[in-house]
């Protein structure tokens, strides 16, 4: 069986000349939870965009065995769901229900099926009673949950999340971890929060300056204090305790 995500020799430059990704090689098996860590400006968000085909650079990206190109784009987006850095960007419809229904409707589901999907996704993130609320009436934590629900409702095989714990307090962060741990899909999570990465991930990919520096076992990479410090990161609580 093909890998969930496969990236070969991928490079990307922003229009203003910033080289954001250079020669990325990455393969992620199905069902894995991968944490993408790295300092600010490492290229994490850019790599997530590349996976869903939002930027086109040099090199090859395949999702679930399908090469990402203009022809396959629709099919690719059906298999990978990506959740952006800022939930306000993700929730653009007048009500939460419409917002979550947007994806399933575009998948061509029937109204009843859509209603089912939406109800289920909302229940998963604990926002079942909020369906008719306007997104701008939600709290930051609720927005974050809703943004994740928009992706869950499409039940893609692969989910990418960009800084899912931004501006959350410890309690909300714990809820998020519980939610992520309960998902059965392939997950790619970009974050600068080492503790989140350490708790959720099965595997860690460390990026800096647009390159993959290390890739592999969570414990091994994240407890390497020299490597982490070199790239502006720190050893998470979980591993610093055990050391």
């Amino acid at each position: 069986m093909s890998n969930a995500i496969e990236i070969q020799n991928f490079s990307y430059r922003y229009p203003d000349g910033t080289s954001a990704l250079s020669d990325i090689n990455l393969a992620v098996e199905h069902g894995l939870r991968v944490a993408l860590i790295g300092p600010n400006g490492a290229g994490k968000s850019t790599l997530l965009l590349a996976m869903a085909g939002f930027i086109k650079g040099a090199g090859k990206v395949s999702i679930d065995g399908l090469e990402v190109n203009r022809k396959n784009l629709k099919e690719v987006r059906r298999r990978i769901g990506c959740c952006l850095e800022n939930p306000d960007d993700q929730l653009f419809m007048p009500t939460l229900f419409d917002d979550i229904a947007f994806g399933p409707l575009n998948l061509g589901l029937s109204p009843e099926q859509v209603r089912g999907c939406v109800a289920e996704a909302l229940a998963t993130v604990g926002l079942a009673e909020m369906a008719e609320k306007a997104p701008h009436h939600l709290s930051a934590g609720q927005k974050r949950g809703a943004a994740v629900a928009t992706i869950l409702a499409m039940s893609p095989k692969i989910i990418t999340l960009d800084e899912p714990d931004g501006s959350l307090d410890p309690r909300h962060r714990k809820n998020l971890v519980r939610l992520l741990a309960g998902l059965s899909q392939t997950l790619v999570i970009a974050t600068c929060n080492m503790n989140l990465a350490a708790v959720v991930a099965d595997r860690v990919v460390l990026m800096d300056s647009g390159m993959i520096i290390a890739d592999g076992d969570v414990q091994k990479i994240m407890s390497d204090s020299k490597l982490m410090a070199e790239h502006g990161l720190e050893v998470p609580q979980k591993f610093s305790d055990s050391n």
């Binding site: 939002f54 987006r77 769901g81 952006l84 800022n86 419809m93 994806g103 859509v114 992706i151």
Partner: protein, 258 residues
């Protein structure tokens, strides 16, 4: 922002809230048209018409203080215009109201009629907006034939007005925190341009991100929505009562009050 929460009562639940948005919209439209075409000097009939929006507001659990505060907010322009009437139209008239009889001018009568009509029609609009979720109103408008492009725009607008207004407020705060002296007009303008510009650049970024978010969810240029509207017997009943109220007042009560 003073009116950022005008629609907060739209999320309550009441028999009025449950009515179909199309029916409510059309009723308010007809109501407004009829009120506007009332004679230009009869104030008392307006009180009768005011009963309609009043009933909707009360049934919809919208605090009246909120409605009137809002009317005050939007009134300056019409107030200025209405106050010109007494200056230009000094025809003397004698007005009788119950036991009271007094002399005034036609200008004052028309001034009060205009203000009265203004209050009644705005009250009706507030009654509509604060008992109807904006999303439902949009869906209703779309079904009434408003082009979908416009409906999409209205949806985005409604969603992001508050986000960007918040940003604007925050930027203004940042300026206030550091604008201590008295900068010249040039600086003022340059700073205002910069603030608007940075707000603009940020809006562009947001738009780009939303575009990504939409395409990430399978958007292909065709806007699809689920129809949640449905006209029920309560809606027919409401339309009937409203029509009876409006036209009853217009055709039977107004001639008597004349």
């Amino acid at each position: 922002m003073h009116h950022a929460y005008i629609d907060k009562f739209a999320y309550q639940d009441s028999p009025v809230h449950r009515l179909d948005s199309r029916v409510k919209f059309l009723v308010v439209l007809v109501f407004t048209a009829v009120v506007i075409s009332l004679p230009r000097t009869s104030v008392s009939i307006l009180f009768c018409f005011a009963v309609g929006p009043f009933a909707i507001l009360v049934l919809g659990k919208v605090p009246l203080r909120f409605a009137f505060k809002h009317i005050l907010l939007v009134s300056p322009f019409i107030l200025v215009l209405a106050l010109t009437f007494p200056f230009y139209d000094r025809t003397p008239v004698t007005v009788a109201f119950g036991p009271l009889v007094w002399d005034t001018t036609l200008g004052w009568m028309r001034c009060f009629t205009i203000l009265g009509k203004f209050v009644v029609t705005v009250l009706a609009l507030i009654a509509l907006v604060s008992t109807t979720r904006f999303s439902d109103l949009l869906a209703g408008l779309q079904r009434l034939g408003v082009p979908s492009l416009l409906v999409i725009q209205l949806g985005f607008l409604y969603r992001y007005i508050f986000v960007l207004i918040d940003s604007a407020h925050h930027i203004l705060r940042a300026r206030a925190a550091r604008a201590i002296g008295k900068p010249g007009f040039n600086t003022e303008l340059k700073v205002a341009g910069g603030m608007l510009g940075s707000l603009f650049v940020r809006s562009l970024d947001t738009a780009e991100h939303i575009n990504v978010a939409m395409h990430a969810r399978g958007f292909d240029g065709n806007w699809r929505t689920i129809n949640k509207l449905q006209i029920r017997s309560a809606d027919y009943l409401f339309a009937l009562v409203a029509a009876a109220f409006i036209f009853g007042l217009y055709f039977f009560v107004r001639p008597v009050l004349q």
